[in-house]
Amino acid sequence: MLKLISILMLTTFNISYASFSLESFCSEKILKDLPVLQNGRVKPFSVMAKENISFLSGKLMRNKVPSYSHYLCQLTFKNFSKSPIPPLMIPIDHTETRALLNVEDVKMISIEEIILREDDIKMEYMSQKKLSSYKKDLGKLLQKVEVYNNIISSQTWSTFDSSKLPVQEKNLGDAFVPLLTLLPEISMPPEQDKIISYLIENKKLFDQQNLSPYKIEILYNNLHLFDFALLLALISSLFFLFNKNKKVHLSLASGLLLLQITAITLRVMISGRAPITNMYETVAFSGLGALFICFLVYLKNNQVNYLLGGAVYNFLCLMMIRFANNMLDPTIQPLVPVLRDNFWLSTHVTTIILSYAALAISWVLANIFLLKSIFVKGFNKDNLKPFASQSYVFAKIGITLLAAGIILGGVWADYSWGRFWGWDPKETWSLIALLFYMMILHARYTNWINQERFLISLSIAFLSIMFAWFGVNYILASGLHSYGFSEGGFYFLISFFALQFSIVIIYQIKKWQTGRQAQA
């Protein structure tokens, strides 16, 4: 008798399963703007899906799966549908990991195969005594398994449960529940229409509470402001380099400023804090800051060509945040306790990043001079003066801001940890950078070095800023400042240093060659 009943139940189950269509349920339309809670923050479903899936597999194989939201939904509901889901492929980069998993010849391996080998990976991880790059890679793989398991068990998709109302902003976590645990109350086996209407109803109720800026985040992601800014920055830089029309310059720069101020303001509204809490944000902010500083200097001196350095540097920063996402993480994460003081965060870090921006402008101008001297015929030391004097202006601004920023950092550290200066690598390196600029300025001040040497020194001195900004996080990675540590920055820095030194060396060689030709 029992057997008969269970067979009956199974057949009804299967019939109900057939009515649940992943294709139509998991469509962008329904899912994209749903509010979900993850990592301590309510965000749009599409953002959560993108963060999770791209963490697991990098870029999705576009031709097989329509979108991140669709795929994450499929994974969550995969037990309720008979249609097959494209396998999730994980890239394996580390050579030792590849050897362990026997995938020397392929680049990717499916998550199911990794889960089969999970115990081996754990043993290998525990047996590594030192925190080598192999151990880190294994650790990351284990993390990915955990993230995947959370997705398929619906822990990741946590939806608003209106029965938990009323709720306060700081207890939001209590009102969000994994979706599949709610389903038995809605219906089991899941009936598509019921779930859809439930989700839409709950979204309305949540929106009424006005507890979260996640709708602004939807707008922010739809506008793609930084992508437009990148395009505009490219156009502006080319115009600044080759065209002399003042009105065109001004309108391009204003447009660029406006786009980025909007983008950053939206980001501030979403995150609830100043836009300088991880590497992505500091790079984006420094790009805007440079253009802004140039604008201020232009307004004081009424010379439009002051905008050039800012536009070029802005373009470089926008390129980095668009393409270097392994190094610069665009997601918005919760802050560690010590960063939670908005006043000091806003003042100290902002001042430092603006100082980096100003010094970067002097670096850009110095390099434009060097590159033009190498590649443009007839361009030589006679064209030096405007570059040198402009660089000097921005270097002075940068140095003053840097000194002020270092001191603000000391006061914040004194207020937070009880010591003004602790020789922490980040603060020490900001001091090292300041010292290098001080040497150059002092040497220039007494004419120990001439204008040409001054300009070249400015291009090399910026490397100390790059080390203070990136090197401490990606190469040294110790001390109180390593909040946003990740891999990949090492190669970036090495290339950066090598490129800068090459430009200077080639410049010197060319100078020496032209000198010999002149003599001959």
Binding site: N39, S127, L172, P334, K385, F387, I407, F420
Partner: protein
């Protein structure tokens, strides 16, 4: 005299000296950050940041700045920004000097509901305690990485001398031969010592066991659920039999079977003595009182049958084999491992000896990061001596001198500062990020008991960015540590910085002076450029 001063002024005050000093200073700092990433903050402090050469370098910078300023006397109006800026720098140096000499920087560890008043500072000391745990005297160790040429005494005219100091050390086991006066031939079993390695997939540890009374090693060890006991090898024959009890003779070092032993009995008769197996291994007389001076002891095999218990007996291992319901004895061979029946453990003897005894030997090594890349408190050792005898004192465990009431303990500890009031942690709160396990913020509720005040105590809340200030001291929420499932202890960092306001004033002057100086220079520049033709444009 004036000529001499002018020489000094032009030597220290000229720009090339200034720039060179800045350059060397920057190099020191670069090296410091690299050293810190390899060997940790404490090591970097000892080598660079708190080293004598670095202090001298800072003195040279100070002189350079001061002389460069004096060189530009008498005061000129256009250099106002310059004077203010450089005065600011000088004040920062002076403030730092004041902090260095008079300031206090330490940590206060608080366990819940336990009054604390002892601040741990960063300097190391060798400390002497009496049998009750009170500190008798201590001597400061130099803040360097290591030395073999110390000539310190622990207290005025004390016989305890300190010769070497290693701020981070490694240790290894060395073996020393027993002197000829010790009969290791006939009494070999008594002098057994072993160095063993125990491991499975998750665990890998080496340890030493010895039968003799030893300041560093014991005869038994507990590792989680596993207990390891080292005993005289002569119990082996009695261990192998089926009986639940046997007698061990402390004078002859032999074991004896108990004749007529009944199954399940707990009152055991042996010759003219009685044992109560439920109470103890000591023999008792008819009234139930223990017989002192008796060489006989009862060995109860039953208590070692259920839980994992491993016996090390000479060069053999023994454990209760559940399947065969008897004790298995296996001989050990150096370098070969023996499988144990619990948790996939394997045990491998590194050294077995009854003619030599083991000792820890310490050597200097640079700090090594742990598996998470952090630098824990390292092993610190000094080599001390009393008369001709050398011995090691560490920060891991106390070294005992003397016996009973006249025992003294030596160890390396941090210098302490006692507050005139106590702080007690009554509650520790931790807020987590919603839906996660990572701490968003944490706070300590602290009771201050200041015996001088008429009111009993005050209650304050200390949390990140909200420190407690009292009597010029500032207490900051620094971190926490778990005590058990739900309770945490709190760590406050304590700071007393009388140089603070001098440094702040200096910083203000520095920034203000920079603005002023650059603004003046700018004005002069733009005045010049207005009278000249426009400079060529960039493109």
């Amino acid at each position: 005299m004036g000529g001499f001063y002018h020489k000094i002024e032009s030597l220290f005050g000229n720009i090339k000296f200034g720039v060179s000093t800045i350059f060397v200073f920057a190099i020191y700092l670069i090296v410091g950050t690299i050293i810190e990433s390899y060997y940790g903050t404490d090591y970097a402090n000892r080598v660079i940041y708190k080293s004598l050469s670095f202090q001298i370098l800072q003195l040279l910078m100070f002189l350079s700045i001061m002389m460069a300023t004096f060189k530009r006397f008498p005061l000129k109006k256009r250099l106002s920004g310059f004077y203010v800026l450089h005065l600011g720098l000088l004040l920062i140096f002076i403030g730092s000097l004041v902090t260095y000499i008079v300031g206090v920087d330490g940590i206060l560890t608080m366990e819940p509901n336990l009054p604390s008043q002892e601040i741990s500072l960063s300097e190391d000391q060798v400390q002497l305690f009496d049998a009750n745990g009170s500190n008798i005297t201590s001597v400061n160790l130099p803040y360097i990485t290591m030395t073999n040429n110390l000539e310190l005494s622990l207290g005025e005219g004390s016989p305890i001398k300190i010769k070497s100091f290693f701020s981070s050390a490694g240790k290894r086991v060395i073996w020393k031969k027993y002197p000829a006066s010790v009969d290791t031939v006939t009494m070999g079993g008594l002098y057994n010592s072993v160095h063993l390695q125990l491991f499975n997939e998750r665990f890998n540890e080496k340890f030493v066991l010895t039968l003799q009374n030893h300041p560093q090693f014991k005869s038994n060890l507990t590792l989680g659920p596993l207990s390891i006991h080292m005993m005289h090898e002569n119990i082996i024959p009695c261990l192998k039999t089926q009986s639940d009890f046997f007698i061990w003779n402390l004078e002859s070092f032999k074991c004896e079977e108990i004749p007529n032993l009944k199954e399940g009995t707990t009152k055991i008769r042996f010759k003219e003595i009685v044992f109560d197996a439920k109470k103890s291994a000591m023999p008792i007389n008819l009234t139930g009182k223990e017989i002192p001076n008796s060489p006989y002891r009862l060995f109860n095999k039953i208590i070692f049958k259920d839980n994992p218990n491993l016996f090390v007996l000479g060069d053999s291992l023994a454990f209760f084999n559940q399947e065969e319901d008897q004790f298995t004895v296996k001989k050990m061979e150096t370098g070969k491992f023996v499988s144990l029946p619990w948790m996939n453990f394997k045990i491998k003897p590194i050294t077995i000896s009854h003619t030599s005894y083991p000792e820890y030997d310490y050597y200097y090594q640079r700090p090594i990061p742990n598996a998470q890349g952090q630098f824990d408190q390292p092993l610190k050792v000094v080599k001390a001596s009393i008369g001709e005898k050398d011995f090691w004192v560490t920060n891991e465990r106390a070294f005992k001198i003397g016996d009973g009431m006249m025992s003294f303990y030596l160890r390396i500890g941090s210098k302490k500062l006692n507050l005139p009031y106590t702080l007690t942690l009554t509650k520790f709160n931790m807020d987590k990020n919603p839906g996660t396990n990572s701490p968003a913020s944490y706070e300590s509720f602290v009771n201050i008991f200041d015996g001088n005040q008429t009111q009993d105590h005050q209650q304050v809340k200390v949390f990140m960015n909200n420190p407690l200030k009292k009597n010029g001291f500032t207490f900051y929420q620094s971190s926490y540590f778990p005590i058990d499932q739900a309770t945490y202890g709190s760590v406050l960092s304590v700071n007393f910085d009388p140089g603070r306001w001098i440094k702040y004033l200096g910083s203000l002057l520095l920034v203000f002076g920079s603005f002023w100086h650059f603004a003046v220079a700018n004005r002069k520049k733009s005045k010049k450029s207005n009278s000249k033709p426009r400079p060529a444009t960039i493109n």
